[in-house]
Structure formats: C-alpha cells, structure tokens
Amino acid sequence: MVEKASSDAYWKANVRIILISLVIWFLCSFGMGIIWRPALMGISVGGADLGFWMAQNGSIYVFIILIFVYTKMMNKLDRDHGVEE
C-alpha cells in the first residue's frame, strides 16, 4: 500500500499536469481556431489565415503532441512516486 502523504502528493502533481495540458488544449482549438480567429487574420499559413489552419489542421497536431508529452510526464511521475506497474 502506498503511503497516504505520498499518494496525495502524486495526485496533486497529476492534477497539475492535467490542468496545464487542458489549458493548451483549449487555447489551440477553441482559442486560436474559433474565438480569436478574427484577431489572427493577419498571420498567414500558406494560403490560409492562422485561425483557419489551426481549426482545420493545426489543432489536431497539437492534440497528438499533447497526449504523448502527457504520457511521458505521467510515466515519470509514476516512477518518482513508486506507483508504476
């Protein structure tokens, strides 16, 4: 059984990683792709504006990177707290 204090610290660190990831998730899709598209109109990506590109392609690339970085950070956190399988 894992110590109570250690498991609380593990969970806190876990929630922090999740929150940071969700902020990035929100900014790159809802933020740049929808809410701030008009403001980003001036920045062009090839034949499109940045907001359009983020909504149709860019956000998806960010999602993939986000999940793998999260997995890597969590695996490290598991080892640091001795809770890995």
Binding site: S21, I34, I35, F63, I64, T71
Partner: protein
Amino acid sequence: MDQFVLNLIFVGITFAIYIGIAFWARAGTTSEFYAAGQGVHPVLNGMATGADWMSAASFISMAGIIALSPAGGYTQSAFLMGWTGGYVLLALLLAPYLRKFGKFTVPEFIGDRFYSGGARLLAVVCLIIISITYVIGQMRGVGVTFSRFLEVSTDMGLYIGAAIVFVYAVFGGMKGITYTQVAQYVVLIIAYTVPAIFISLNLTGDLLPQIGLVGSYAPSGGDISLLAKLDQVVTELGFTAYTADTSNRLNMFLFTMSLMIGTAGLPHVIIRFFTVPKVADARSSAGWALVFIALLYTVAPAVGSMARLNLTTTMWPAALTATATSGDAISRADIDSKPELSWIRTWENTGLLAMEDKNGDGLIQYYNDKAPADSPIMKMAAEKGWKGNELTKIDNDIMVLANPEIAALPGWVIALVAAGALAAALSTAAGLLLAISSAISHDLIKGSIKPDITEKGELTAARVSMTFAIVVATWLGLNPPGFAAQVVALAFGLAAATIFPALMMGIFWKRINKQGAIAGMLVGLVFTAVYIFVYKGWFFIPGTNNLPDTAANYVFGISPLSIGAVGALLNFVVAYLVSSVTAEPPQHVQDLVESIRIPKGAGSASAH
C-alpha cells in the same frame, strides 16, 4: 479490366482477410470476448480504436459536409476539432483510471462507483440509445456502398455486410473485432489517402494533401493559393466563401465542445481502453489512436476543398484558368458523350446527383440562386435568362465516393475506395455491437437478472445478445427511421450530457455520491433530449416540433446539435449541488476512488 470485376476482387480479398483473422482470433473466455484478454499492444489498440471510431460518417460523409457547407467550409471545422480533441479528454481524464478500475463495461463502473443498481441501469439505457442510433448509420453505409460498387440492391448489400459482421464479431468477440479492425484500418486509410495524394499532386503539385491544402493552385501557374482560388470561384457563383468566418461564434464553440465531450463519452470508444495490458498503455494508446485518426482527419479538409474546386471547374470549365463565368457552363451534350464525364451519368443513376436544364439552353448552370438579388451572379442570371441553379442535387457523400472518378484516377483506386468505405462502416458497426452486447449480457443479465451465471453461460449469453443486436441493427438498416441524420445529434448530445460528466466526476471528485450522480445524469438526459425534440419533433415524429428548426428560433442561436455541451454543464452543476447537501459516499467507495487514481496494482481485469 472491367470496373465491376476490379471492385469485386478488392472487396472479396479484404473480406477473406477479415474472416481469416476472425478464425485465428476466436474468443474462448469472457475476458477475451469483452476485453481481448487485456493483451493488445497499445499501438495495435490505437489502430483498432481508429477503425472503430472512424465510421461511415468520417470516411464517406465528412469531407463532403465540409466541402458543400452553405455557410462555408471553415464553419464545419467543428467536426475536425471535435472528433479529434475528444481523445485528449479521454487520455487525460478517463482512459487510465477506467483501465485501473479493471472491469469490462461503462455501466459497471457507474454502478460500482455510485453503489447503485439504478445508476447502472440508467447508464445501460443511455448506452443502448447511443449505440443503436449510431449503428443504423453504419448499416446504411454498408448497403449504399454495396449497391453503388457491386451492383446489388441496397438490401442485399446490407444482408451481406451483416453476415460478415456476424461471423467475426459473434465468434471473435472483442479479440476478433480488435484484430480485424487493425486490418480494416490499414484498408481504409490507404483507400482514403491514395486518391487524396493523386488529387493534391494534380491541383497543387504537393505530394502531401495537408501541404496541398495551404499550397498554391497549379493549373493557373501557381500565382494564387488553392484556398484563394476556391474562395474566388465559389463567391463568383454567389456561394459563401470557403474560408468565410462563422456568423455565430457561440454556436460553433458549443458544437465543437459537444462533439469533443460526446466523443470522450461514447461507450464503444471507452471500452477500447480496457483491452491494453497496463495503465500507462491506456494513456499512450489514446495517443496512438489519435495519430491514426489524424492521418484521415488532417487529409479530410484537403479532400473537401479540392473536391469542391474540382466540381466547380467541371461545371464551369473556364474556371480552371480564369473566372468561372468568362466561359459557358458545361453542356448536357458533353456530359452525355465525353468519356471523362461518364462519372456524372453513373452518379445520376444512383440518385445522389441530379441536373435539370431549367431554361432549356443545353447548358447546366451551377450557381447559388438564393444569392442577394443585387449580387453580380444574380444580375448575370437575369440578363442571360437563367431559371435557377441547374445542379439540383448533389449529395455530400459523392465528394468522397466519386472523388477518384472526378479526378480521372485509375480503376483500382475506385475499387480501393469501395473496400475502404466498407471497412470503415463494418469496423464501427462491430465495435458498437460489442458495446451493446456486453451491456446486455454483462450489465443486465449477469449484473441484475442472474448474478450466479457461469463464465461459460455468460459467454453464450454475450454471443446470443450480439446476434440479437445484429438482427435489430439489420432490421433498422432495412427500415431506417426517416430521422437517421437527426438521431446522431441525440447520440452525441446524450454521451456528452450523461456519461462523460458521471465518469469524470466519479474519478476526480471523491465527494460525489449516488444521489448527485443520478440527479445529474437525469437532468442532462432530459434537458438535452427535450431541447432536441422541441426543434426536431418529439421522438423525431415529423410535425410534432414546437418551434421551427431554424437559427432564428434557437435560444441564443444554439442549435440542437450543440446543446450537449450545455447539458453536460447542467449535469456537473446539479451533481455538485445535490451531492453537497446529501450524505457523503460510503468508505469502501472512497477507497475505490483512491485506488483507481494510482496505477500500481492494476493487474488484469476481473469479472467481480
């Protein structure tokens, strides 16, 4: 070689592969039937999840929805972000914890976490409504693809598809389905990307369609970008620009959110993460699933924009190098005689494409006859005596299915698309049928009706319920309710408003209790269903809607398709308030929450 023979060969070979895999991967235990014995490598599981998730809608319809959207292609980005971003929520908020929980079904988690048979039953009801509505579309997709490519009736196609699914899903269970889906993924992704690469090379000179989307338009010498060219020709014809901004940002936001939360709450997607060996694998498997899904989803907007441009330059040949109306529209005589336009006649025969020479000038004018009267195109129409848009019907599905023909690609590419469309529809149907059968045999029969059933008995029950689910799905595919398109909104809305919030709070908030969860799910369910029924008709019966289904009548402009996100929010609020004023959950439930938060000691899933 004859196109029909080619199609037959491609479809025949892929079907033989699926059956062969099913025979090799038969399920012998309930653990293999429900969760493939937890022995699936995360990369393979990611591939299978990709095939499971990408349905007939993703493969056949999505690019066309983007291409032909009256409000412009950008507004439909909600599908692209929504149907991929949900995997971030799955990886971060649900998959690892549900894998640690180590049981077989979503209702089982809800029943244990909220120590209530009623909550489990409510989850079973939501699961069955969501999965059945979904499976209808898959069975239709199988029938339509068969009838178009293999010259059998839609009904016959449906029977053949159902028989194939029966063989590998009933005998193989999750194990057979998973390995078959890996093969189906390979078939469908090749079928989707090969035509896209050809078309991208044709239009932009870029090998990768993702680069082509933001590349320059080759036929005009490359001095204008593909998207600028597309915007130019469609606006000239009176349509909304492809890249035009949305007119309702709030609705686009909520629609994207509903699709994301709905994706993360779909039971047939969630159960995929029960099949991997470890908690860490559940995290990375979600990432791999998204990699494989992204291969199609990042190509889809390129397919959509390029198909729309190809269609427009086919209808207005002068648009290739100059403005559309600088030359004549395509003539009926050309369509009837030129071999490179034979695809138009083929698709006219299926009824998915229709033309009518309203003013009898022998030309087919394609333009937006609902454009403002003072727009250049309407003035030109009045001047030249056009009597309205003469491309009277163009179905969304054509944009992918006819894409290789529009771009004059070789016959084997067309055969490949047929095999790919079938793979997409069959793999999703199998995943949904498994979710339905495990809810019936594991949650209803073992969970409440006959808890002392033996392992062997439960396996038989699972196979019988799977057979029953296939029969129901086939019957619904043969007699589709007229509202098949609308019920998908209900499926996503319910998944978002009921299952996702209950699972998430069950993991992240120890204090949520039985009363809070049930109240939250009920409020989410009723609110979402009622909002949809008010505009779409009560239980989708035509004519029973209280308000017309138009943007002007929506509350704050929120369409019934987008309401799931609001339903989810209400679920969270109600569950919080009700839990706060009622007793905290018993100690063993709080211990359960502690235990699922820590990866250590997951082991293999158990039936108890």
